[in-house]
């Protein structure tokens, strides 16, 4: 999918001063590509006319009817907007890792900010949950500028720290997310895979459409380390002196096995899993949302 890479390049986003700028830039960049919003705040299938009420968008007025009857009416479609998008952001300490100038958390936060801007701009509702071993902060689903501001502020106030327990968090959150919709989970998913999948399964059972966005640091993924290191685990995972070259092969095997298991589990649940690294443009993330959004609007749903 083509994208305006310049607008989605994380290195450029890193230089922006606020999340709102990031969000706008990302969205513009994404939509400047092939993604045109398939909806302008409304469903695409005509359902009926209703009388014009002040505040309705002028462009929704059916002028043909007015010409015929001199009545101001607006068109209504099968589904009105108000698609819910729950954005879950992992703020555990492991998300603080960075080999670049920005961490996994920064990257995920940009993606969340951009998505909230996109969703709210499309008159859908967006909500935010920031979590680690439990949920830390929450912005209930809503729409409008104020909602976006609230989401962005919560994002800006959040810092990574604390242990990880993704599966338990999802399990707990699933029944609490009232508005069913697309639930995007931004995390590195460094936890027991089965526990994570249990949580995702709970979300699915609750009628949500989870999209797992795994954010990794490129160094975590490549393990291209030369010198002798004393690796000190974030989240209090202990420390060990290693020769990275000596264990690299085994490390990559372990990581690959974990990701494979996660992907298998996600496939089994028909859940999208996007794996990205912090050095890649953000369009993949937004594209995933937009694709899922389009499918749902056509009634494809899940």
């Amino acid at each position: 999918m083509a994208s305006n890479f310049a607008g989605l390049d994380p290195a450029i986003l890193d230089r922006l001063s606020s999340l709102s700028l990031v969000a706008r830039k990302v969205v513009e960049g994404t939509l400047a590509g092939t993604h045109r919003s398939p909806h302008r705040g409304s469903s695409v299938e005509f359902a009926q006319h209703r009388a014009y009420a002040p505040g309705d968008e002028v462009r929704r007025i059916d002028w043909k009817v007015y010409a015929r009857s001199e009545r101001l009416v607006v068109k209504e479609y099968v589904e009105e907007t108000n698609l819910a998008c729950n954005l879950l952001l992992d703020a555990s300490e492991s998300m603080a890792f960075s080999s670049l100038n920005w961490s996994k958390f920064d990257y995920a936060r940009w993606a969340v900010a951009a998505l909230s801007h996109l969703v709210i701009g499309a008159r859908d509702t967006a909500g935010l949950v920031v979590f680690d071993a439990g949920h830390r902060s929450k912005v209930p689903p809503g729409n409008g500028t104020a909602q976006e501001v609230a989401i962005l502020k919560t994002l800006e106030d959040s810092t990574p720290g604390g242990p990880t327990a993704i599966g338990e968090v999802l399990h707990t959150l699933a029944p609490r997310l009232r508005r069913r919709g697309i639930t995007m989970i931004f995390s590195d998913f460094f936890d027991e895979v089965q526990t994570i999948l249990e949580g995702v399964r709970r979300l699915v059972h609750q009628g949500h459409e989870p999209i797992l966005v795994q954010v990794l640091d490129p160094l975590e993924k490549s393990f291209e380390l030369d010198a002798l290191l004393k690796l000190e685990g974030l989240e209090g995972a202990g420390s060990v002196k290693i020769d990275p070259k000596a264990i690299r092969e085994a490390y990559l095997e372990e990581l690959e096995a974990h990701n494979q298991e996660l992907a298998r589990g996600a496939r089994a649940l028909s859940v999208d899993l996007i794996s990205t690294t912090t050095d890649k443009p953000l369009d993949a993330v937004l594209s995933a949302y937009l694709t899922r959004r389009s499918a749902r609007a056509r009634g494809g749903g899940r």
Binding site: S94, E220, K230, L231, E232, G233, K245, A250, E254
Partner: protein, 760 residues
């Protein structure tokens, strides 16, 4: 595991094997801390790979430490015995020192080959058995008067040198040779305290070779001339050869003696032992009597052995002698030296199995007539009153017609002058060897100066008293100095006289060994000197360093004849006169003639310098006249120019450059040819001890020293004496192991690197 190390000090290098370990431990301190998010995967990978990584790193570390340790051991060169566990791996390298006796006795010919040729054959066979590529080393030492070591290294080099060896005419010096062997063994031992060098001496078992090993060194033996490299031996100490053997024994080295000599214990051999003169000829046409001594070293008599003597190339009639077993005989020859100078003599026998001692060269120097200047202090036509009349008669005996006894040579050329003639410009004192001042009352200062210079340059001056010598004080003032700088050897005190009818004085005591007076030492001639009346003499007080050769029987035992060295020359004081009035010696020809002759010959004699030497000894030559373009010609006709500048001595003679040992290796007559002058002969003669071929018995040899053992000609030792154990070194195997470790480390390190390489 190892018996020892050739370089024990380098064993400490094995401690460097700890360096890779230290580097490994230091590296463990250098882990850079890094916060990591995906720790679960790191821990899982770490647990999975820890043991394998540890083993891999341990193997790498051990390989690196092994390389260092093996290299250090390799350099330290450990060795083991051939019967040790590692014995089969050892190289058993051999280091051999082969000594070939090249002395004159080795030229003894038995059947078709000489003893020396037989030894060379054996040396070749021995060296061919050594293995250079294996590391065997060999050194050849040629044993002569000065042993020559010919390189230390590959046996093939020594083998190539063997055919170039030739026997010499020298006498073998066992002590010097053992000294060279000891130096080699000490270097081989290198502080380990033992050496495994095999030493073999190929010789003819001549008893004289081992003479220096017997007993304690006597004062006589210590006077033997030694070569430059030899240490001086003091009387009463152990002989040097024995000292060297003691040290070799301490190093565990045995010297094997291989006998390649002739079969008989006392091989038959006759030799010319010496050629010498019986008299002391002086001047032209002087008669020279030569004795040639011949020895029979064998056990059978040798009757009618013919001896030939040639003088300056002219053969004299052959003489015959009968030689008893183990005995000597002398043949007398006589010839007339037509002109003074060096006479080249060559005595020869009919050849036998050892030809080197069948001829002997000698040079006899017949000095020219001694030139005597007689200064007559009281000339007179009356012989009885003349101060020097009788003296001159003694100096120049009458010459008669033909017939035996009448053709006398003139050993002296006497020239009489007045004291005033001392100042004559035509007089050159350098023409005279002896100057006699007989009764000279006064001398001008210029004359005294001239006399002083002449005596200082080597002439002799005789002061004789006389009637006109009245002013003793004046004479003392001019000629005597208490510090010895004056010409007179004694201070003149007073004249003493007695009447002829009264008591007279006689010679009471004299130096019987002094050349001037030894004629009278013989009992039958002694009264000629001691009974002759002396009526007048001058009392004299000699200087401290003056020697009184004869003294009178007065109460003070006044000196009659005093001698003193004065720079290069000598000064004599005859406290009486040659005048009849003073003593009856003047009119006693039986006293005066021998006295004057012996005295003047001694006073006028010159050190002509040696004209004879042993083979390979240095020899200098002193000549009266400047040598132009001197060329040395050896007995075999080869030669070389003597380019070095001759040096003039204080006495006016010239000294040629000393001939090097390499110039005088051959025995025989040498010549120094001079442009515009007769050739000057030199003689190089064998040491007569080399002719004594008696061989030492095996029992006697084995009993000489524990470090000596007799080997059979095939190389094995006799009896139960085993060969020296061979020391085996392992350094090549260690080097190979180090190389293997290094290759293994490289391969393993590369493999680990490839496996752990970060691929894009």
């Amino acid at each position: 595991m190892f018996e020892g190390f050739v370089n024990p000090g380098l064993v400490i290098g094995t401690s460097l094997a700890a360096v890779p370990l230290l580097i490994h431990l230091l590296n463990r301190q250098r882990h850079r801390p890094l916060a990591w998010g995906a720790m679960r995967f790191v821990m899982a990978a770490y647990r999975k790979t820890r043991r394998r990584v540890q083993l891999e790193n341990l193997l790498l570390l051990l390989l690196r430490m092994g390389v260092v340790a093996l290299l250090a051991l390799c350099v330290a060169r450990p060795f083991v015995g051939s019967d040790g566990a590692l014995g089969p791996l050892t190289e058993a390298r051999q280091d051999v020192v082969l000594v070939v006796d090249a002395s004159a006795s080795m030229g003894y010919r038995e059947d078709v080959e000489t003893v020396f040729e037989r030894s060379l054959r054996r040396a070749t066979a021995f060296l061919e058995k050594l293995d250079g590529p294996r590391g065997d080393r060999a050194q050849l030492i040629v044993m002569g008067s000065t042993p020559r070591a010919l390189g230390w290294g590959d046996p093939s080099k020594a083998l190539a040198l063997v055919p170039t060896l030739s026997p010499s005419a020298e006498r073998a010096d066992l002590a010097a040779t053992l000294g060279k062997v000891l130096a080699i063994c000490e270097e081989d031992a290198s502080g380990t305290g033992s050496s495994h060098v095999q030493v073999r001496i190929l010789c003819d078992l001549q008893a004289d070779l081992f003479a220096s090993l017997r007993g304690t060194l006597s004062a006589e033996d210590s006077g033997i001339q030694l070569g430059e490299e030899q240490e001086a031996e003091s009387p009463g100490t152990e002989p040097l050869a024995r000292q060297h053997l003691n040290k070799l024994q301490e190093l565990g080295v045995r010297v094997l003696i291989e006998d390649h000599g002739p079969a008989p214990t006392n091989p038959a051999n006759i030799s010319i032992q010496s050629v010498r003169t019986l008299n002391q000829p002086i001047g032209e046409k002087s008669r020279v009597q030569v004795v040639v001594q011949v020895a029979n070293h064998g056990t059978s008599p040798r009757p009618a052995e013919r001896i030939a003597l040639s003088v300056n190339g002219n053969k004299l009639p052959v003489a015959q002698v009968d030689l008893p077993p183990q005995g000597r005989a002398e043949a007398l020859f006589s010839f007339q030296a037509e002109t003074p100078g060096a006479q080249a003599l060559l005595a020869q026998l009919e050849g036998d199995r050892l030809s080197a001692d069948d001829s002997r060269a000698a040079v006899i120097v017949v000095p020219p007539a001694i030139s005597v200047l007689v200064v007559n202090g009281a000339p007179s036509t009356d012989l009885e009153k003349d101060e020097v009349g009788y003296l001159l008669m003694a100096l120049e005996p009458l010459r008669g017609g033909d017939g035996p006894g009448n053709t006398l040579s003139a050993p002296f050329a006497a020239h009489e002058i007045d004291p005033a003639d001392l100042l004559a410009s035509s007089l050159d004192l350098r023409d005279y060897d002896v100057i006699i001042l007989a009764g000279v009352s006064s001398l001008p200062e210029v004359a005294v100066q001239g006399l002083t210079e002449r005596v200082a340059s080597g002439a002799s001056l005789i002061f004789a008293m006389g009637s006109r010598l009245a002013d003793l004080e004046g004479t003392n003032a001019r000629l005597f100095r208490a510090d010895g700088s004056g010409l007179l050897p004694a201070e003149l005190v007073q004249k003493r006289s007695t009447s002829r009818r009264g008591r007279y004085w006689r010679v009471a005591d004299f130096e019987e060994t002094h050349p001037a007076l030894r004629f009278f030492a013989e009992e039958r001639w002694m009264p000629l000197l001691t009974e002759v009346p002396i009526y007048s003499f001058v009392e004299a007080r000699p200087l401290e360093d003056a020697k009184v050769l004869a003294s009178l029987d007065d109460e003070g035992q006044s000196p009659l004849l005093i001698e003193r060295a004065f720079d290069q020359g000598r000064v004599y004081l005859w406290t009486t006169s040659f005048q009849r009035e003073w003593t009856d010696i003047a009119v006693s020809p039986n006293t005066l003639v021998p006295l004057v002759h012996e005295w003047i010959v001694h006073a006028g004699g010159r050190n002509e310098g040696p004209r004879e030497a042993r083979p390979a000894e240095s020899l200098g030559l002193i000549l009266r006249n400047f040598p132009r373009s001197p060329q040395l010609v050896r007995p075999d006709g080869t030669g070389r120019p003597l380019a070095e500048e001759p040096v003039q001595q204080a006495d006016g003679r010239w000294r040629l450059a000393t001939l090097a040992p390499s110039d005088t290796a051959l025995p025989g007559l040498y010549k120094v040819q001079l442009e515009g002058a007769s050739a000057e002969p030199l003689a190089i003669a064998l040491d007569p001890r080399e002719s004594e071929l008696e061989r030492i018995s095996p029992a006697a040899l084995n009993g000489l020293h524990p470090a000596l053992a007799l080997a059979e000609a095939n190389g094995e030792t006799t009896g139960d004496t085993p060969l020296a154990p061979r020391r085996g070194e392992l350094w090549r195997w260690l080097a190979l192991a180090a190389l293997t470790f290094l290759v293994a480390e490289s391969i393993w390190s590369a493999r680990l690197g490839r496996r752990r390489r970060i691929t894009a």
